[in-house]
Amino acid sequence: MGIIRASKLIYEYIRRDEDEHVEEVNRAIDQLTVDIKKGDFVAVLGHNGSGKSTFAKQINGILLPSGGTVWVSDMNTSDESHIWDIRKTAGMVFQNPDNQIIGNIVEEDVGFGPENLGVPTDEIWKRVDRSLAAVGMTAYRLKSPNKLSGGQKQRVAIAGVMAMKPQCIILDEPTAMLDPNGRKEVIATLHELNKKENITILLITHYMEEVIDADRVIVMDDGKLVMDGTPREIFSHVQELKSYRLDVPQVTELAWELKKAGVDLPDGILSREEFMNAILPLMKKRFPDQVNLEGYCPDVGTFGTESAVK
């Protein structure tokens, strides 16, 4: 049984007029059933308004189901007595780092969460040390958060969540406001936490390149789960993704376009290395004297081995 489970989850935004009569019901989540395994790195894709953020807010009880059930570590989110344990278990990071940072200096900000949980002072400092080290921000602990870059601020926000010792972190477009370097920093930090601390990660994003290293990708549309699989499985369906207003990484799109035009390439190429492994031998055949295959071994390329293991 997974750390996060939703069964036939429904959530409706209800608009009422001044007399509390229902004017409009907007179903943001429609019969969503999903089971997230502990320790997985899961990416959630979907267009604006597909229900991703609403789902994220269900997981730590900011919103409660209109129908169906959500369990976090076997605690039902609708059961009020569990709400604080649920929020300790599942921490959230939002899009805008400036809205989430409150401390005057970095270490204060990171300590804010555990302080609110009533953690003893010694233990707070231990957690602050550990969390800052985990996101690679120890050198900045006495700096003002205002002086940090966007990516650094987001890492401080992640450290703040880490300090509450969650088993799972849900991030709602944490890189939308960052430059390419900031985005790389944050995504690398998340993979570190996932591998070293075994924290389950649920990453909501619109950047397809951030998804390729996830263990699992789920795609939402109209409040429903419409695709679910490994990045390779998901990105093999270029046409279907486009129908959900989504996209694929440029390298995947290029490989797909070439394949459509008759070039012999495998489905769902995700990285530059995979693309090179597939295309260089073809180029070698055309230009035997010019092309070298240095650094590439097409027979045992990443592409073949990984799918064979699975």
């Binding site: 267009h47 870059s149 939308a176 430059d179 207003r245 290029l254 180029m283 010019q290």
Partner: protein
């Protein structure tokens, strides 16, 4: 018509120990009808720079000429400048406030002191230009989706009939389709209305596809300025200053490193596809297929 920036400096805490250059000796000229991409990492001075272009920030030294006139000259009409150079901030939908979409778009031209008919005409034009269906015009802007709200905010600036439109990351937080839609609409404005567009973006892929010229900022200085192909040639330098080139650029360079005779200047998926197909001898085949279909 043009925007000319000469030796522009913007210094915070001038003369104190905290003195810091937000812009340092920036020079360029943007001609009428250009589509310029402005890139740089967070804190590189992009946003500071664009706020100078419509007079929201005043330079510590240097000059800006709009259509040949110095905007810091005595008696220069800053108000008029601000309606000619429209600035769409990051997350502009946070600035929506009216009861319905249409009134919100009318706000700008209303402040310009135009007649009611003119105001409404402009609002309608602007909403059509951003492709917002008429059924939304009477709705509250707060009930719209993220992409729709952003269109309303852009329409609000367009309704002032600017000659230059500057947008600070207009696609941040939008899904891929919404991003393409907004950028396609900007391209249409650029093409059909001959509007000058300055697009600030963190997406190298978008810039490669849409801009004719790229300016790169780093630590308050302009470090590159040229056509996208030329600027992305310097992908290693771009990486050193916290940026990158589009993924396609890396693929092309890696192919070349392995001896594949491919044009180094390709920056979009379509260009790379066509070049690789030609190299593999598949291009004719594809054309023939197309002919068969046509027949």
């Amino acid at each position: 018509m043009s925007i000319r920036v000469e030796h522009l400096n913007h210094i915070y805490g001038d003369g104190t120990v905290y003195e810091q250059y937000a812009l340092r000796d920036v020079n360029f000229e943007i001609q009428d009808g250009e589509f310029v991409g402005l890139i740089g990492h967070t804190g590189s001075g992009k946003s500071t720079l664009i706020q100078h272009l419509n007079g929201l920030l005043k330079a510590s030294s240097g000059a800006i000429y709009y259509n040949g006139e110095n905007i810091y000259g005595e008696g220069y009409d800053m108000r008029a400048l601000r309606s000619k150079v429209g600035l769409v901030f990051q997350y502009p939908e946070h600035q929506l406030f009216e009861v319905d979409v249409f009134s919100d778009v009318c706000f700008g031209p209303k402040n310009q002191g135009l007649s009611k008919e003119e105001i409404e005409e402009r609002a309608k034009d602007a909403l059509r230009q951003v492709g917002l269906d008429e059924k939304f015009w009477e709705q509250s802007p707060f009930e719209l989706s993220g992409g729709q709200k952003r269109r309303v905010a852009i329409a609000g600036v367009l309704a002032m009939k600017p000659e230059v439109l500057i947008l600070d990351e207009p696609t941040a937080g939008l899904d891929p389709k919404g991003r393409d839609e907004i950028l396609d609409e900007l391209t249409a404005l650029h093409r059909d209305k001959h509007m000058t567009i300055i697009l600030v973006s963190h997406s190298m892929e978008d810039i490669a596809r849409y801009a004719d010229r790229i300016m790169v900022m780093n630590h308050g200085e302009k470090v590159f300025d040229g056509p996208p192909r030329q600027v992305f040639h310097h992908y290693r330098e771009l990486e050193r200053i916290g940026l990158a080139a589009p993924q396609i650029t890396y693929i092309i360079h890696e192919l070349r490193d392995h001896g594949v005779p491919i044009d180094p200047d390709l920056i979009t998926v379509e260009e790379a596809r066509d070049a690789i197909l030609a190299l593999l001898g598949k291009a004719e085949e594809k054309e023939e297929k197309g002919k068969d279909k046509a027949e």
